[in-house]
C-alpha cells in the first residue's frame, strides 16, 4: 500500500484514503469558510453495490489499489469531500423535486424542446429562402434594363399593306399591316406544303397585324419586305422567300421568322417585349 501511495507521486496528497470526511492535507490558497450544506453527506451505510462501495464499509479504509502481472496498477480514490454543485437553476420546473417521478411531465417537456427546435427550423427556413431569393434575383435583369427591352408602337402610323421596321433589342422588328386579301391568302395555305408547318392564326394575335423579328433564320440577314415569290419577305443573302405571315416557303432557311412576345394595349398601341 505504501508503494501504491508512492506510485501516485505528486498526487499522493489526494490519494489519502478516508472512510470518513476529513479535510485534505492541502491548504486552500484563500482561506474560505466551508459551506457545510454544500458538502455531500457521506453515508457510510450505503448499500453494497460494488467493490468500491464495499470498501467504504471496510475497516481498513478507502484506498483501493489493485495490481496484477499483466495489467497496470490502478488506484481508486474516494472523492468523498467533493461538493456536488447545485444544478437546480438549470433544471426544469417539473424535475426540481428529486423524489417525484418525472415520467408524467415527460411529454410536455419534450413538447417544449421540440417546439424550440421547430421555431428555429422555421426561422432558418425563412432566412434561407430570403437569402436564396435575393441572390437569384440579383442575377436577373434590373428594372431599367427591362424597361429598355420593351418597345411601344403606335399602330395608326402604319397604313394598310405596309411594313415598318423598328429597332428592338438591337434587332430589326417588322410590323406589317396586312390587307384582307393577304389574310385570307395566308389562312388558306395548306400546312402539309410548309417546311415549318404553322398556321397563320397561331402566329398572330390580330390577323391584320403581323409582328416579326426581322432576322432570317438561315444566317441572320435582314429580309426585304414586300418582295419575293410569296409576297412577304425575301432574304437577299441566300434567297429565302417568306410569305406574308413570315413563314419560310422557299430557299435555304429552315424555320419561320420568329414571332416575339407582344400584347395590344387598346386599339392603337402594341407593346413588344
Amino acid at each position: 500500500m505504501l508503494s501504491v501511495a508512492a506510485r501516485a507521486g505528486p498526487l499522493a496528497p489526494f490519494v489519502s484514503a478516508a472512510a470518513h470526511a476529513v479535510p485534505g492535507p492541502l491548504r486552500p490558497l484563500v482561506p474560505a469558510a466551508a459551506h457545510r450544506e454544500h458538502k455531500v453527506p457521506l453515508d457510510l451505510k450505503r448499500p453494497l453495490l460494488c467493490r468500491e462501495s464495499l470498501s467504504g464499509r471496510a475497516a481498513r479504509g478507502g484506498l483501493v489499489a489493485s495490481a496484477s502481472l499483466n495489467a497496470p496498477a490502478s488506484v481508486r480514490c474516494v472523492h468523498n469531500d467533493v461538493a456536488v454543485p447545485d444544478f437546480s437553476a438549470y433544471r426544469r420546473q417539473d424535475v426540481q423535486d428529486a423524489n417525484a417521478s418525472s415520467q408524467g411531465s415527460s411529454d410536455s417537456r419534450k413538447g417544449f424542446s421540440y417546439l424550440m427546435t421547430a421555431a428555429t427550423g422555421v426561422a432558418t427556413a425563412y432566412v434561407a429562402k430570403n437569402v436564396v431569393t435575393q441572390f437569384i434575383s440579383s442575377l436577373s435583369a434590373s428594372a431599367d434594363v427591362l424597361a429598355l427591352s420593351k418597345i411601344e408602337i403606335k399602330l395608326s402610323d402604319i397604313p394598310e399593306g405596309k411594313n415598318m421596321a423598328f429597332k428592338w433589342r438591337g434587332k430589326p422588328l417588322f410590323v406589317r399591316h396586312r390587307t384582307q386579301a393577304e389574310i385570307s391568302q395566308e389562312a388558306g395555305v395548306d400546312l402539309s406544303q410548309l417546311r415549318d408547318p404553322q398556321h397563320d392564326l397561331d402566329r398572330v394575335k390580330k390577323p391584320e397585324w403581323v409582328i416579326l423579328v426581322g432576322v432570317c433564320t438561315h444566317l441572320g440577314c435582314v429580309p426585304i419586305a414586300n418582295s419575293g415569290d410569296f409576297g412577304g419577305y425575301y432574304c437577299p443573302c441566300h434567297g429565302s422567300h417568306y410569305d406574308a405571315s413570315g413563314r419560310i416557303r422557299k430557299g435555304p432557311a429552315p424555320l419561320n421568322l420568329e414571332v416575339p412576345t407582344y400584347q395590344f394595349i387598346g386599339d392603337d398601341t402594341v407593346v413588344v417585349g
Binding site: K110, G111, F112, Y114, V122, A125, Y126
Partner: protein, 59 residues
C-alpha cells in the same frame, strides 16, 4: 402544459409530421411576418409613399 403535451403527441412525435409542421409553419410565418413588416413600414411612413400621394398627381 396540456397544450404542449398534445402538440408533442400529435405533431412532434413523428419525424414526418415534425418536418411537415416546420414547412407549413415556415409558409405561414413568412406570410404573416412579411405582411406585418410591410404594414408597420407603411404605418410609420404614412403620407410619404407614392401610393399615399398618388391621387394628387394621377387622375
Amino acid at each position: 402544459m396540456v397544450l404542449l403535451r398534445r402538440v408533442y403527441g400529435s405533431l412532434f412525435r413523428r419525424s414526418s409530421t415534425f418536418a411537415l409542421s416546420i414547412m407549413l409553419g415556415a409558409v405561414l410565418f413568412e406570410r404573416a411576418f412579411d405582411q406585418g413588416a410591410d404594414a408597420l413600414f407603411e404605418q410609420l411612413n404614412e403620407g410619404k409613399l407614392w401610393k399615399h400621394i398618388k391621387h394628387k398627381y394621377e387622375n
